[in-house]
């Protein structure tokens, strides 16, 4: 028997009486007063508690960053890191030269500085550049947009630069595509991506830092779709189309991706953010790019990774060696989620499966989830973005390569940053766990004369000069075979090796280091080793590492001197293979067909112009190495303004 007499009338919330009159829900006066004073008491109590607690700002004060400037108390002035690698102690990140060396800050002269400009990497004529934006192919032209400061060689006043090319290599500068002329992007026209609609039209979504410095998403499109150069862009009058959702801080919402088409006939895209120190990516659905519905939950989240910038999300084929349109999703496909971590300035990716039904990404290997596992590039490489190139049926990757010298030098030379050579990106079908990156084949059009070196023996502890003429613009393909007997005989040990803490190419092991000395001076006073190091475990297993050593790259002390690198998977039967692009102050190096990639910025003071040389080296103690190389001199790409175009405020 249910007792239907109660002090409070019971409201029916089971929906069975939708027409229940409101009057039956009125609560008697006494009770209302009781509730009111009860709430008041709770309010007072809460006020008392919180007024003694000064830590409301938990989110901001959590210092989970991998950067640690909080080193031991300095006795003298201590150098401050410009970009510490994860997990490396402060000592080895010293911006300035090691103790004992002459530590006078370097007086750069114009000859040294002007040598640093690259011959075939994309860079504007002057000033600062950062993230790649909205890359696409349209009506016969590759388009590239980028974050640009028209006023200085440091970040600030950001607008969209623009350039076009027929082949991703020979670029022609165009007028600025978008400037900060609306309230919704007054404080910065930031990163964005393009989506090409089925009818061929282009929509561009980008982040604006609005007049109140809130990060919002805006829609723009070409003013004239019949203009193959897409010079003029118009912003949607109803901008912004997206603002930070509830619970998200106004400065944690940026970098919308290219959209993909679902089987339900809607577009989806993702935007990175964070909640406390958990990096997340939201998914939005839209039909017209004007109104959006935020899907519940997130595409993916990883604790402790901090803000996810420049999220990228795309399919890769499991069986074919071509790229896939962003909307493809079928059992023959894996998906890649990539993020740029604000906290450590590196780009990370994870391969996994995309479940369209609940818009979720599940990584294949949660131990190496995005942000804590594999990186696109173990050197200087950030804010990368891919696009599907429908012209050649490939997916192409752009990455921002900033400077590793001092800001003062950047200001003196009048520019800062380059882009990497665009890379094709594919799933490495042999390992299934890695992506392969490789410079686009069009770069081969810059090759001039070549030099062959066949089966050169490099004894343990020796250096072999490679006479290729000037060694500042090179494309190098090399294969290394290490003495098998030495591999078998070497005693294994438990000592863990890592490029960054190894002490560099000067530290000899039984089976390494060996490789190339790039941008090296005859006396080797300046040299940048690009090399392999084979470590043998006590169980007999071999692990191969691929490193770039900047410790002796320059006699100047105000440049980055870190050692970059990572383990590189080498499969049974594979020789060690290497491709290196040397282009003045940038070296891009690819091991095992692009399974592990390292980009470095190098600023020699002596190994410049005709004095820059190339060497083979083998600093192992027990193993000889056999190297075969083909080396091309590289022509300039003559990147310059598009002829006869008005209004080029670059």
């Amino acid at each position: 028997m249910v007792d239907t007499v109660s002090f409070l009338p019971v409201s029916n919330f089971d929906g069975s009486n939708p027409s229940e009159p409101l009057q039956s829900r009125r609560i008697p006066m006494k009770v209302q007063l009781l509730i009111f004073f009860g709430l008041l008491a709770v309010g007072l109590f809460a006020a008392l508690l919180t007024s003694n607690n000064g830590s409301d700002f938990v989110t901001e004060s959590e210092h989970g960053s991998l950067v640690s400037l909080n080193t031991a108390k300095p006795e003298l002035l201590q150098p401050v890191s410009r970009g510490p690698a994860a997990g490396v102690s402060e000592k080895s990140n010293r911006l300035f030269a090691k103790d004992g060396e002459n530590m006078v800050a370097f007086p750069w002269n114009n000859s040294m500085l002007s040598w640093q400009r690259t011959a075939f990497h994309f860079q504007p004529e002057r000033n600062w550049m950062n993230d790649p934006n909205g890359p696409l192919f349209y009506k016969g032209w590759y388009h590239f947009f980028y974050q640009y400061n028209p006023h200085a060689a440091v970040w600030g006043d950001i607008v969209w630069g623009h350039a076009v090319s027929k082949d991703l290599i020979h670029w022609l500068h165009l007028p600025l595509a978008m400037v900060a002329d609306r309230t919704y992007d007054k404080n910065g026209v930031w990163t964005g991506s393009a989506t090409i609609l089925p009818d061929g039209k282009i929509v561009m979504l980008y982040t604006g830092s609005d007049a109140d410095a809130v990060q919002v998403q805006n829609l723009a499109y070409p003013t004239d779709h019949s203009d193959p150069l897409l010079i003029n862009w118009v912003k949607f009058s109803g901008n912004p189309v997206l603002v930070p959702p509830p619970g998200i801080l106004s400065k944690d919402f940026r970098d919308p991706t290219t959209a993909w088409w679902t089987s339900e006939g809607k577009w989806r895209l993702t935007i990175g953010s964070k909640i406390n120190k958990t990096g997340i990516a939201f998914v939005y659905e839209t039909k017209d790019f004007i109104t959006y519905e935020k899907l519940d939950g997130v595409l993916h989240a990883v604790d402790g990774t901090g803000m996810w910038e420049c999220v990228d999300f795309f399919p890769v084929s499991k069986t074919k060696e071509n790229g896939l349109d962003t909307s493809i999703n079928n059992p023959d496909v894996k998906h890649v989620l990539k993020v740029s971590l604000d906290d450590d300035k590196n780009d990370y990716y994870a391969i996994g499966t995309y479940h369209e039904k609940n818009a979720a990404f599940i990584p294949d290997d949660p131990e190496n989830d995005v942000g804590i596992g594999l990186r696109y590039d173990y050197g200087v490489y950030y804010a990368a973005k891919t696009f599907y190139d429908q012209n050649k049926n490939r997916r192409v990757l752009w990455g921002w390569i900033k400077e590793s010298d001092s800001e003062a030098a950047d200001v003196q030379k009048g520019w800062a940053s380059v882009q990497s050579i665009p890379r094709t990106i594919l799933l490495d079908q042999k390992t299934g766990t890695h992506l392969l990156q490789w410079p686009v084949e069009e770069i081969e059009s810059l090759r001039l004369n070549s030099y062959d070196f066949n089966q050169v023996t490099v004894q343990a502890g020796s250096v072999v000069p490679l006479d290729v003429g000037p060694a500042t613009q090179l494309d190098i393909i090399a294969e290394f075979k290490i003495d098998k007997e030495a591999l078998d005989k070497a005693t294994g040990s438990d000592l863990t090796f890592s490029c960054s803490s190894s002490g560099g190419a000067v530290k000899r092991g039984a089976l390494g280091p060996f490789g190339l000395l790039a941008l090296a001076e005859d006396s080797l006073s300046e040299q940048t080793p690009v090399y392999f190091y084979i470590a043998k475990g006590s169980d007999g297993n071999l692990k191969t590492f691929f490193c770039n050593d900047q410790t002796r790259s320059s006699e100047a002390s105000d440049v980055n001197k870190q050692i970059f690198g990572s383990v590189v998977p080498v499969l049974e039967g594979e020789n060690l293979s290497l491709r290196v692009l040397v282009d003045h102050s940038i070296i891009e190096s690819f091991a095992q067909g692009g399974r592990t990639v390292i980009t470095s910025r190098v600023y020699p003071t002596k190994a410049i112009y005709g004095a820059a040389k190339l060497f083979l080296f083998n600093n192992a103690t027990e193993a000889g190495v056999n190297a075969s190389l083909r080396i091309w001199q590289m022509s300039s790409a003559f990147i310059r303004p598009y002829p006869n175009i008005d209004n080029q405020p670059q």
Binding site: L22, R25, Q32, I35, F36, L39, L40, G43, A46, A47, T50, S51, G54, S55, F57, E60, S61, H63, S65, V67, L69, N70, P74, L76, L77, Q78, P79, V80, R82, G83, L95, F96, M103, V104, A105, A152, A153, V154, W155, G156, N187, G188, W190, S209, A213, Q215, S250, K251, D252, G306, M307, D342, K345, S406, E407, A408, V411, Q412, S557, D558
Partner: protein
């Protein structure tokens, strides 16, 4: 329903009246917890507290105050350097001072504006980089005087370096 709205309003009004007041004590502890994350706690506290707005602002506000302190100190030190240049007759000393002028110009004209911009607009990593550079400019200036018998601006230069490191740490909290 009306009565409920009415009482809710009353509740809200009351709760605002009694909500945690921005007490001196409350804000002073924000400066304290913030400065604990920096490499020079005492300098940080005194620098922040010397600005009247520091007692009623949030971490981005403290970051801006920190960056402004760097600019002020760097500007003052730059003035000192140019004065010394005018007075000095020692060629080698002048050369070192001239280099420091370059480093300090970089701090005032580039590092500082970039840092403020980055904090205000919400892309703090560029602020961290700018302030790290400012610290390194000061370090570069110190290195220039290693072979000199005297380093006339030693104390001020150290303050610029330390303040930059402090401000950089605060901005890093915004990452």
């Amino acid at each position: 329903m009306n009565k409920f709205i009415c009482f809710s309003l009353h509740y809200l009004i009351f709760s605002f009246t009694f909500s945690p007041v921005n007490s001196r004590e409350n804000r002073a502890s924000l400066i304290g917890t913030t400065c604990k994350t920096t490499p020079f706690y005492n300098l940080c506290v005194s620098a922040l507290q010397s600005d009247p707005h520091s007692s009623s602002t949030d971490i981005p506000g403290l970051a801006q105050i920190g960056a402004n302190k760097v600019k002020a100190k760097a500007t003052a030190t730059l003035k000192q350097i140019t004065n010394l240049l005018e007075q000095s007759k020692d060629q080698s000393l002048k050369k070192a001072l001239l280099d420091c002028v370059d480093y300090y110009d970089a701090i005032v004209e580039y590092d500082f504006p970039t840092a403020i911009d980055a904090v205000v607009k919400g892309d703090p990593k560029f602020g961290v980089q700018g302030l790290n550079d400012a610290a390194n400019e000061a370090l570069a200036c110190e290195r220039r005087f290693e072979k000199q018998p005297k380093f006339p601006i030693e104390g001020d230069n150290k303050v610029v370096h330390d303040l930059s490191a402090v401000a950089s740490s605060i901005v890093a909290l915004l990452l």
